[in-house]
Symmetry: C2
Subunit: 227 residues, 2 copies
């Protein structure tokens, strides 16, 4: 059975791909070159797609910089560093990219329809996350409902499923799940603001969440951080 | 008040933009260069955006050819011609582009969020249409629901509205509405398969629906057809 798997190259989506594989899906990995400042994550995505034997890996260019307004896509906004867990959960951060998951899932839906497959995997997480509205279970449920109305296959009676195996896990549980699915974490990339050499900063929300996850899981993070 | 208006350059979306203007919205027109064989429609969109005084007109490149599988985006599939009304309403035609309106609305949502506007106009129509699943009222309602869960503004309490002023109109009624909104139909383009010079074929579903609309409205279509 085929599945379209959204893959950024971070530990969440990489673990999600590993889970899809373990469940026996033939995986079609989908990444986006959307003007992200941490574009280097696409190399990680390619490594992970190969590692887990994805049948195909596509990188779709999507210019989200055209709209700006996120620290991930606008050069004039800085990525916040050294934030505490309390600060991270206060409101929606500047790294939020407007409607990003809606756009990514819409493309996944298009590919799923062409592949005649009715399963989409996305590694969203609503526990140790950055407060993005489009990572919440109610968003995913609404998208699944939409998917079944939006497409030919939906009309013809096949049921689209949006799988979110990570949605209720803590970052530590995700790290453990990734490890149990055999993920080589050295292949992944999480940092929003890597240095020229691609080394993770260690202090952005994404690095801090990752480090906390490994620490709490009692596992070693193979990445070397700048700070 | 601002509104994002999806604009293909055909009579439906052009009429829709005219309606948004007449309702007093400051319009941000959004078009897509998605690998459509009738790419010439983007010139029509630019003319219409200027005609109705859109505050801005953006054309986003989106490679839907990457997925193929529609006569509008795959060179090896022919656009059907000379189909009867009965044939047009039998099932979903080969010109259907997988998840197109989901993708277009997702981008509109991203722009709306950046503009801090809560109104999106789309000229979908579920009466004289080509049987596309993503033109139906239940699809639009599901997207509106999604939009209010997907975004920062939704979370913060502002309500996103997807306006579909044409959804229950016949093509003849759309032509009359366009005329009443002052639309110069000579600026528009509807054909899926124009000739090298940009002249509409006159026989694809889109041309046939347009011609029928003008005929039933008792108005003259200013376009010159190849056939």
């Amino acid at each position: 059975m085929k599945a379209v798997c959204l893959l950024s190259g971070g530990i969440d989506s990489s673990t999600c791909l590993g889970v899809a594989r373990r469940e026996g899906f033939e995986c079609y990995a989908l990444s986006f070159d959307y003007g992200q400042r941490h574009r280097i994550e696409l190399q990680a995505a390619a490594r992970v797609a190969e590692f887990f034997g994805a049948r195909e890996h596509r990188i779709i260019p999507v210019d989200l910089r055209a709209f700006g307004s996120s620290a991930l896509t606008a050069d004039d906004l800085a990525v916040p560093k050294h934030r505490s867990a309390a600060e991270m959960t206060q409101g929606i951060p500047v790294t939020y990219v407007p409607a990003r998951n809606t756009i990514f899932l819409a493309f996944a839906l298009a590919w799923a329809e062409v592949l005649e497959c009715s399963d989409i995997f996305i590694g969203v997480n609503a526990i140790d996350y950055s407060g993005y509205p489009d990572c919440r279970p109610e968003f995913i449920e609404a998208f699944e409902r939409l998917a079944n109305l939006a497409t030919k296959s939906g009309v013809e009676g096949s049921r689209m499923r949006i799988h979110t195996p990570l949605i209720k896990l803590s970052k530590a549980e995700i790290v453990r799940l990734g490890a149990s699915a055999g993920l080589d974490f050295a292949l992944t990339h999480s940092c929003y603001d890597p240095d020229q050499g691609g080394r993770p900063c260690g202090q952005c929300d994404s690095c801090l969440l990752r480090r906390k996850g490994f620490q709490e899981a009692g596992l070693r993070d193979p990445l070397r951080y700048a700070e």
